[in-house]
């Protein structure tokens, strides 16, 4: 039995490899983007930098979902909502940074509020003038929502399918609410046209690279955190809750506390992913709350492989890379590919690509010694 503390989580081999690969890729990209001249064949365009940044945000989001779904057994179909809330919190800060450079040149209000004839900034926008408070809000908004929602749901023992469906209803209701212009978040158009962050222009290559590195740091941090948690007794109890919630209750665990804990943490991670996503893609709007996005997210995790953490990361990156390629090369086929992926993975690859890979590796490694054993035990006619 292991009881991993933070130190073992950091020095753990998987974490080392993960962080190593992540940072060598990111730093390579950063250097090739910043130092290699634009017309060189080795130059990496800032398009690729933002694209990679976006993938890493998605990877962080997938990691967050894997924590609740893979380890907690809570299939949330509303994780997009937490992602979007974090994104909005950051978007609000970026909106405020525009200052009087908006089209109406109003120094006190964002453009859409000028347009709606609002006279003053609503109270919930007040914190967005400060970066520190914004960071707080990035975690707090999704965390609080997840806490309240989870507190209600887990206490009432809403589980399985029911929970999935009401999380879907949650994100759907939020989407409708954010679409409303009166809600004060820019309605359908959302928040866009950002200029700079902490005084650095968002259009500068160096800012982009910095954001990419920040995302990679967040992802690595979240990965280590998740490893630590899943390796600790907390993680084992969470797994136990996943596999036999009522048994765990009979052992004296307040399972709802565990679920709430992990759900809230996951929501905060999703919020951070959203906050990193927005400055890189340059827009946040209610479409991010769409239930479709949340379901797609589940597939990233399923494709990569549940309950492995790195599976989620690999899945998110692979599927989104596929999406980028497909929507460019053969747009009509993208939905077929995505749909087929959903079906194929759930039916044939319940453990995802990671599971497939480890099965293959296992077979390769173990075939010679195990082969005679199986033939002894099992029917001798069966081909090995």
């Amino acid at each position: 039995m292991r009881h991993s503390d933070l130190k073992t989580a950091l020095t753990d081999r998987a974490a080392k490899v993960f962080i190593g690969v992540l940072f060598s890729a990111v730093i390579l990209v950063a250097l090739l983007n910043l130092l290699v001249p634009v017309d060189s064949a080795l130059h990496v365009s800032s398009y690729t930098v933002t694209l990679l940044g976006k993938y890493l945000c998605y990877a962080l989001l997938a990691l967050a979902l894997d924590l609740v779904w893979g380890f907690g057994g809570i299939l949330s179909l509303g994780h997009g909502a937490f992602f979007a809330l974090g994104g909005y919190a950051m978007g609000m800060y970026l909106m405020r940074q525009i200052g009087d450079r908006g089209v109406y040149g109003n120094p006190n209000l964002p453009d859409f509020m000028v347009f709606l004839n609002w006279k003053e900034l609503p109270w919930y926008w007040q914190a967005s003038d400060h970066f520190g408070l914004t960071l707080l809000l990035v975690g707090l908004a999704p965390g609080l929502l997840a806490f309240v929602f989870g507190w209600l749901a887990f206490r009432s023992r809403v589980t399985g399918v029911y929970l999935s469906i009401i999380t879907q209803a949650l994100t759907y209701a939020l989407m409708l609410a954010f679409f409303r212009n009166e809600f004060g978040f820019g309605g359908n158009n959302g928040l866009t046209d950002f200029k700079d962050i902490l005084g650095f222009s968002l259009q500068a290559d160096s800012t982009r690279v910095a954001l990419l590195i920040a995302t990679a740091l967040a992802l690595a941090g979240a990965f280590v955190l998740c490893r630590w948690i899943t390796g600790s007794r907390l993680g084992r109890v969470t797994l136990a809750v996943r596999d036999g919630e009522s048994r765990a209750r009979f052992l004296g665990y307040r399972t709802e506390h565990y679920k709430l804990w992990i759900f809230t943490l996951s929501a905060v991670l999703a919020g951070i992913a959203g906050a990193l996503y927005v400055p890189q893609v340059g827009i946040i709007n209610p479409g991010e709350f769409s239930p479709l996005n949340s379901i797609e997210l589940v597939v990233w995790v399923a494709v990569g492989g549940r309950a492995t953490l790195y599976g989620a990361v690999i899945g998110a990156i692979l599927v989104n890379y596929g999406k980028t390629v497909f929507t460019g090369v053969m747009p009509e086929a993208w939905l077929f590919a995505l749909g087929g992926l959903f079906v194929a993975v759930t039916v044939f690859l319940p453990q995802g690509l990671v599971g497939l890979a480890s099965d293959l590796l296992k077979r390769k490694r173990r075939t010679p010694p195990t082969a005679p054993q199986t033939t002894n035990k099992e029917s001798p006619h069966e081909p090995a």
Partner: protein, 432 residues
Amino acid sequence: MKSKINLKRLAAAGLACGSLLYGSAALAADTIKVGVLHSLSGTMAISESTLKDTVLMMIKEQNAKGGVMGKKLEPVVVDPASDWPLFAEKARQLITQDKVDVIFGCWTSVSRKSVLPVVEELNGLLFYPVQYEGEESSKNVFYTGAAPNQQAIPAVDYLLNDLGVKRFVLAGTDYVYPRTTNKILEAYLKAKGIKEDDIMINYTPFGQSDWQSIVSRIKEFGGEGKKTAVVSTINGDANVPFYKELANQGVDASDIPVVAFSVGEQELSGIDTGPLVGHLAAWNYFESVYNDANDKFIEQWHQYIGDDKRVTNDPMEATYIGFNMWVKAVEKAKSTDTDKVAAAMIGMQTPNLTGGTAVMNKNHHLSKPVLIGEIQDDGQFAVVWQTDGLVKGDAWSDYLPGSKDLIADWTKPVMCGNYNSKTKTCGGQAAQ
């Protein structure tokens, strides 16, 4: 845990990431690349895929004529999948990876808003072919659809003057285009002496499918003795159930006419228009307009798409005008350089499809005729009114308090998209 396996897996993942770095960036100097940025999947595919086909048709025709400046045009089609952040990403891809010289694309305002910072940053060129809410003018964007003063205001004038309408229902989907249009109209109607009580404003969510209560309220509102009309900025999919409900509740065009700004031939092609005869729409183009240029365009379209039943519509005409103008501007500038083309665009004239000439103004908006048509039972519109001459598109509405002092002028010495004519300053963003 089996960390040995992890190493290999992660290395593989790293390789996959690496392959991302160098995408397709082949540069062919003997062609001019034209980016097409319209959704081919998702909710907007219904409207946007037609425009993709229109651009491809125009490119084919132009190439048959020998291309532009002796070079063939090469379309680069991408699918932003009705996903707004993806619009920005794809725009960036088109400009930096595929090195296109111009982009035709976007439909919804939010997609344009998403793309806008990208084309400005990378100094790209975007032709936007859809009627929209105005309140914008970018150095890098040409707006070939109608501004509110080219659609909404003339339509309301028609209702006021020709139909004697005294009460107005402003019904729209809850997003920025209806909001802006309705605000402009509200201000305009009040200026025309319509009382607050005689204006009813209603917003519904996207894809609203149950219109019973709203239609019933409109009926009630219209039953109070004064001639009433509905000004509809209801978007896309919500229109079919809306019109069906109107028809079923017996709201006749002669009692309460509905004038729509987002319903064209293509939207009607999904509705049984029998019960809707007489309801109105305001556009800069109708397929039913009779003249040779339009006949030719329609025939060409039918041939290209291989279906005689496919209709044409206003955004297609806007694409047609935008494309032809761009071709002329490139030839005039003898370059595809954005700044040179943009400069050449201003003042450019090409024939439109309604028998007149479209002119590109200094504010990057077109001068266009405004037509009002009544829906006919064959899904077409019959033109019942049109402006005498061309109406110049206004980037900034005169009826909104925030924008009445703003003008856009992309010629020297102003060179500004939001120039305050009172303070003589250029608003923040577009400062050069």
